[in-house]
């Protein structure tokens, strides 16, 4: 097992833990550069992974690092998307400026939600943001002049600095660039006093307050930053889906974002990206499994004769073609993760790496959850 011995401040400030980690990230980056050549048929899904990654980072800052669980992020995404399209298409603002404006508008909305949110804790905040998301969705439906109402609004291809980015490959790189920028910005912010204040608020509001962290300022800042990042993601999302309609930004999308941070692993930026890969790729996997699994099971059961194989095939086929199955699978995975791996994919990854790096000496107790008795949130 390697220990990172820090002997200078430069090491402490560095973005990577050591040379090995840096090289690993450089290798990953190079792999992402050549990926479009290797799997051209999945380019669209990969861009979606990057956009979701940005959303995941945004929600991770709020839910994973500041401890404010929001179900309103679909609304922020929607505000970002509609604002971007409105500025870029209806007002003819240059693309980059439109993205910046969308981020600013969304951040302002974040402050608007964040301010009353200062008085709420825990699940109250979740419910309030849920209400916010539902109200904003109705606003999208009714404010036809800007949003196009129920008819929806077509989105043109992105043109950045006069460079049309209509092609899937160029859009892939655009999303990748935004994701890397977002990750870099966020990881820097999280290593700064601001980030430490957020983590302090998450771990104990009272303790943070008594250490001189101004709750109002830092919570509002977390909301604004998270919403702003979501606004940028919304701008990209608008180009990705090519058509905006109010029912895209439903609460189910918010739930998907929460699923992302929960499955990825709360409290780590890695987790946000893992979660994004999971949420964006799972529908692809499911749709392929829909075709593959009945055939496969049919062949297995064909051992008991042709009729049995065919019967199993048609039975399984009918079952997996049910339209309501996919959200159920999402829900089931969420439940299983919360019950059996609360640290998410990232936690599991850390356990596996620790197992191999300390091979004969791995202890289960390292990650054992401490017994937690119920601590009441109510005043007695």
């Amino acid at each position: 097992m390697r220990f990172a011995f820090k002997t200078s401040y430069a090491q402490d400030l560095g973005l990577f833990r050591d040379g090995v980690q840096r090289n690993a990230y450089i290798a990953l980056f190079l792999a992402l550069l050549v990926l479009p050549r290797l799997v051209p048929e999945y380019l669209g899904d990969l861009s979606l992974v990057f956009i979701y990654g940005l959303c995941g980072v945004s929600l991770m800052v709020l839910a994973g690092y500041t401890g404010l669980v929001s179900l309103g992020h679909s609304a922020f995404l929607g505000i970002g998307a509609y604002a971007h399209v409105y500025f870029a298409q209806d007002l003819g603002v240059p693309w980059v400026v439109a993205v910046a404006l969308a981020a600013a508008v969304t951040a302002a909305a974040g402050v608007l939600v964040g301010l009353p949110a200062l008085r709420m804790t825990g699940v109250y905040l979740t419910i309030a943001t849920l209400a916010f998301a539902l109200i904003i969705q109705e606003v999208f439906t009714r404010w036809d002049r800007v949003t196009g109402g129920l008819k929806g609004k077509p989105v043109q291809k992105a043109v950045v600095f006069g460079l049309p980015l209509g092609h899937e490959v160029s859009f892939y790189f655009l999303c990748l660039a935004f994701l890397i920028a977002g990750l870099w910005l966020t990881s820097n912010l999280l290593r700064s006093p601001t980030g430490r204040a957020w983590v302090a608020i998450r771990d104990s509001e009272v303790a943070a307050q008594s250490m001189g962290v101004n709750l109002a300022v830092y919570k509002t800042m977390a909301f604004a930053y998270s919403a702003g990042l979501m606004g940028v993601a919304g701008a990209l999302f608008a180009h990705k889906i090519g058509f905006l309609a109010p029912d895209i930004f439903s609460v189910l999308l918010s739930i998907q974002f929460l699923l992302m941070v929960a499955v990825g692993g709360l409290g780590s930026l890695h987790g946000a990206v893992y979660g994004a890969v999971f949420v964006a790729m799972l529908p692809v996997v499911i749709s392929q499994a829909r075709d593959a699994v009945p055939v496969w099971l049919g062949q297995v059961f064909a051992v008991f004769g042709r009729e049995a194989g065919r019967a199993v095939f048609s039975l399984v086929d009918r079952f997996v073609k049910q339209p309501g199955l996919e959200p159920g699978i999402f829900g089931l995975i969420l439940v299983l993760f919360i019950l059996f791996e609360p640290l998410g994919v990232y936690g599991r990854w850390r356990k596996i790496t620790l197992f191999f790096s300390t091979f004969p000496l791995y202890k289960h107790a390292t990650f054992k959850r401490q017994k937690s008795y119920m601590r009441s949130e109510r005043l007695r």
């Binding site: 309030a128 209400a131 739930i255 929960a262 309501g324 996919e326 439940v335 119920m374 005043l379």
Partner: protein, 290 residues
């Protein structure tokens, strides 16, 4: 004048449903401090089960209702036993995600078992109305209001005058102390879940003739949140009063405000309450002590 009275009646009926679902939230929250985002979906399961028993298996209305409520209550108890007990004392986030996930599983289960069509539940009160002083009183609405009042009376008597009910109150006020007094706290929690799921099923059965049964019936649960918060999350009378208030506000804003306000009125009220008076009308939640 007539229209105002008519709106009062309809609003009260809708409010009763919100109140019942909110009551389910509050019971569970009071006892275990878990917020059950799947409450609305339990309601949906109740309505579907009742429909299945009546239409597919030819049960009578009352026996079907009793059977549906009992089976959903049993399901709630099993759910607590198998799943929810593991997350007691975990961070709120885990519980919120868990129940949201469970809700999605229930919806998926319903759509696979009963299909994604929209059903109407036939009842003895269907499509009948009596004119009282210029107001058409639909029997379905009366059934909702009467059902709610009866259920609340039963619950009130149960919680204050029976041994088990008092034990449940004790368990929800202080687990450890209740345990020391020899109350089987875990069993009480399962019972609370059973009651809460049963109440949700009754709400579903009462709502089904007015609304239609489909897999998205559970989204009413979101509006019931507004009712629960308005009443102060930990208060049982608060949940009912909150539900009635939300129901009335919703119908009046539908009648007198521009289009679109009806759907969001509940949420606007919710946000206002949370911003102005987060502890709600009958506040039972205060600042956490260290």
């Amino acid at each position: 004048m007539d229209i105002i009275l008519q709106l009062v009646l309809n609003g009260l009926a809708v409010g009763c449903i919100y109140g019942l679902v909110a009551l389910g939230f509050v019971l569970i929250y009071k006892a275990t401090e878990l917020v059950n985002f799947a409450q609305g979906d339990l309601m949906m399961l109740g309505a579907f089960t009742c429909y299945m028993l009546i239409v597919w298996h030819g049960f009578g209305y009352w026996s079907a209702v009793a059977l549906a409520v009992a089976s959903v209550a049993l399901f709630g108890a099993l759910l607590d036993r198998a799943v929810l007990r593991r997350v007691l004392g975990q961070p709120q986030f885990a519980v919120v995600m868990l129940t949201i996930g469970l809700g999605a599983v229930f919806r998926s289960f319903a759509s696979i078992t009963w299909g994604s069509e929209i059903y109407t539940l036939p009842t003895p009160f269907s499509a009948r109305a009596t004119m009282v002083g210029g107001v058409s009183v639909s029997h379905e609405y009366v059934s909702i209001i009467v059902g709610t009042v009866l259920l609340c009376a039963v619950l009130y008597v149960f919680f204050t005058h029976t041994r088990i009910g008092v034990a449940m109150q004790a368990a929800s006020q202080n687990q450890l102390a209740a345990y020391y007094m020899g109350i089987p706290v875990k069993l009480m929690f399962s019972l609370i879940w059973a009651i809460s799921a049963g109440v949700a099923a009754i709400a579903g059965v009462l709502l089904a003739p007015v609304s239609l049964i489909d897999t998205n019936l559970g989204f009413i649960g979101l509006k019931a949140f507004a009712a629960a918060v308005l009443g102060g999350f930990g208060s049982i009378p608060g949940a009912l009063v909150g539900g009635l208030t939300i129901g009335l506000i919703e119908l009046y804003s539908g009648a007198y405000l521009p289009q679109g306000f009806k759907d969001v009125a509940a949420y606007v009220v919710l946000l206002l309450v949370l911003a102005v008076r987060p502890q709600g009308m009958f506040g039972a939640v205060g600042r956490k002590k260290v």
